[in-house]
């Protein structure tokens, strides 16, 4: 039992440090900022309730990202989420090139979208992504390769990209 005064410092720190990462990964999953923020909030509440113990900051971030992905999946499965027809997120304020890239990535299947986000936004390696997604590194490598191929077909480029293994 703890009160507001005893709000864990680590939770507050996590809120400062990782909230944007969590919102962005949830956005990559749900394609909607409002839903993404809701998921991120739920993750922090879970963090507060469960108070998991971490070895280090990276471990903590990985846990938060993993939990965000799980909660995003859960939200996708809910009936109300499936039944609604949301207005696409307005990204017109972004420069055209950025907007096009973002739209192209969001248009990919989530199987490819999430590894690409984790790699290109968070800068995780294939092995790290494999650990977060609880998959084999080879599988993650395949997802990244296919995702890139699909993006190349759509937009061109990617030849100069290298994936850190």
């Amino acid at each position: 039992m703890y009160n507001s005064l005893e709000l864990n410092e680590s939770v507050r720190q996590a809120l400062d440090l990782y909230s944007q990462s969590m919102i962005k990964i949830a956005f990559a999953y749900l394609k909607n900022i409002a839903d993404a923020e809701e998921v991120a909030q739920e993750v922090f509440l879970t963090y507060l309730q469960k108070r998991p113990v971490f070895e280090n900051g990276e471990h903590e971030k990985a846990w938060l990202i993993r939990t965000t992905i799980n909660k995003s999946k859960n939200m996708l499965k809910t009936g109300w989420f499936k039944s609604r027809n949301p207005v696409p997120e307005d990204l017109s304020y972004l420069p055209k090139e950025e907007s096009d890239v973002l739209q192209a990535v969001l248009a990919l299947d989530k199987k490819y979208r999430i590894p690409i986000h984790l790699h290109y936004y968070e800068g995780y390696s294939i092995q790290e992504i494999a650990a977060i997604l609880q998959s084999k590194p080879a599988t993650v490598g395949t997802w990244l390769a296919r995702g890139r191929l699909l993006l190349k077909e759509k937009m061109g480029g990617l030849e100069d990209e290298e994936i850190c293994l």
Partner: protein, 280 residues
């Protein structure tokens, strides 16, 4: 795609400015809720005890109030008159003026020697030359001997009316509509004759050793050579083994009738329409 483009795009995606603050507030309220949960349990128990006490007090007061009310009502009713209220003696109803017509309807029980008077109930009715006989008017039926006989005889049904004072026991009829002779001869209404038939319908529960009798409900039915089997008539279906099996077996559904007295518990079937094996 260059790494920097995607990262830059994602970084520029706008999020709520107050996300951190809102999340922080939510976490605070969540903590408060968790803290209050245990306190609520204690409070609820205390409230329950208090509520029970209040309930008991309420019931006691209610029952006491009912008792007081019942006593008051009984006390007040003792002073009230017990019987039905008598009409006020001071009020005298004015006598009805004008002529009153009284119906004459009934069976003649006595006829005078001259045949001009008859008795219906306790009233002697005299028929004079002024008495109107029959029914007139545009819709009246043709006068007939059957409905208006010339002679008044004992047993005849008469109807009409008088304006005389019936309390004297003797009046003159103003009109006689009908004077109908009773239909009591057997030729007119012959008594009903013939036998009563009783249906035999049900499932055979028992069959006699010889196979000629079976039990349906509480009734034993015997089938003799005189029993007519099947359904006759021009519209009857062709006889079939399915509808009328040769043997009577337990579980078969039979239908028919008997003209014998079923109260004896044993009858001979007059007709058996169907003897069907149960559906498999």
């Amino acid at each position: 795609m260059k790494k920097s483009v995607y990262k830059s795009a994602m970084s520029r995606v706008k999020t709520s400015d107050d996300f951190k603050e809102a999340t922080y507030q939510k976490m605070m309220s969540d903590i408060e809720k968790t803290t209050q949960t245990t306190n609520i349990n204690h409070k609820e128990r205390f409230k329950m005890e208090k509520a029970n006490k209040k309930k008991l007090t309420g019931w006691t007061v209610g029952i006491a109030a009912c008792a007081v009310l019942s006593f008051s009502i009984l006390t007040m009713n003792q002073n009230a008159p017990t019987g039905t209220p008598q009409p006020t003696a001071g009020i005298v109803q004015a006598p009805t003026s004008g002529k009153v017509a009284v119906n004459i309807d009934g069976v003649i029980s006595e006829v005078s020697a001259d045949g001009k008077s008859f008795k219906v109930g306790d009233l002697w009715v005299k028929v004079t030359a002024d008495t109107k006989l029959g029914i007139d008017g545009p819709t009246a039926a043709e006068p007939s001997e059957e409905l208006l006989q010339k002679e008044f005889k004992v047993g005849n049904i008469v109807s009409g009316f008088t304006s005389g004072d019936v309390s004297t026991g003797e009046v003159t009829a103003d009109a006689i509509y009908n004077n109908i002779a009773p239909q009591n001869d057997e030729a007119a209404n012959p008594p009903a004759k013939g036998k009563a038939a009783v249906n035999i319908d049900g499932v055979i529960s028992e069959v006699s050793a010889d196979g000629n009798s079976f039990k349906v409900g509480d009734l034993w039915v015997t089938v003799t050579p005189d029993t007519e089997l099947g359904i006759g008539g021009p519209t009857a279906a062709a006889p079939s083994e399915e509808l009328l099996q040769k043997e009577f077996k337990v579980g078969n559904f039979v239908s028919g009738f008997t003209t014998e007295d079923v109260s004896s518990g044993k009858v001979t079937a007059t007709n058996i329409y169907n003897n069907m094996a149960p559906a498999q």
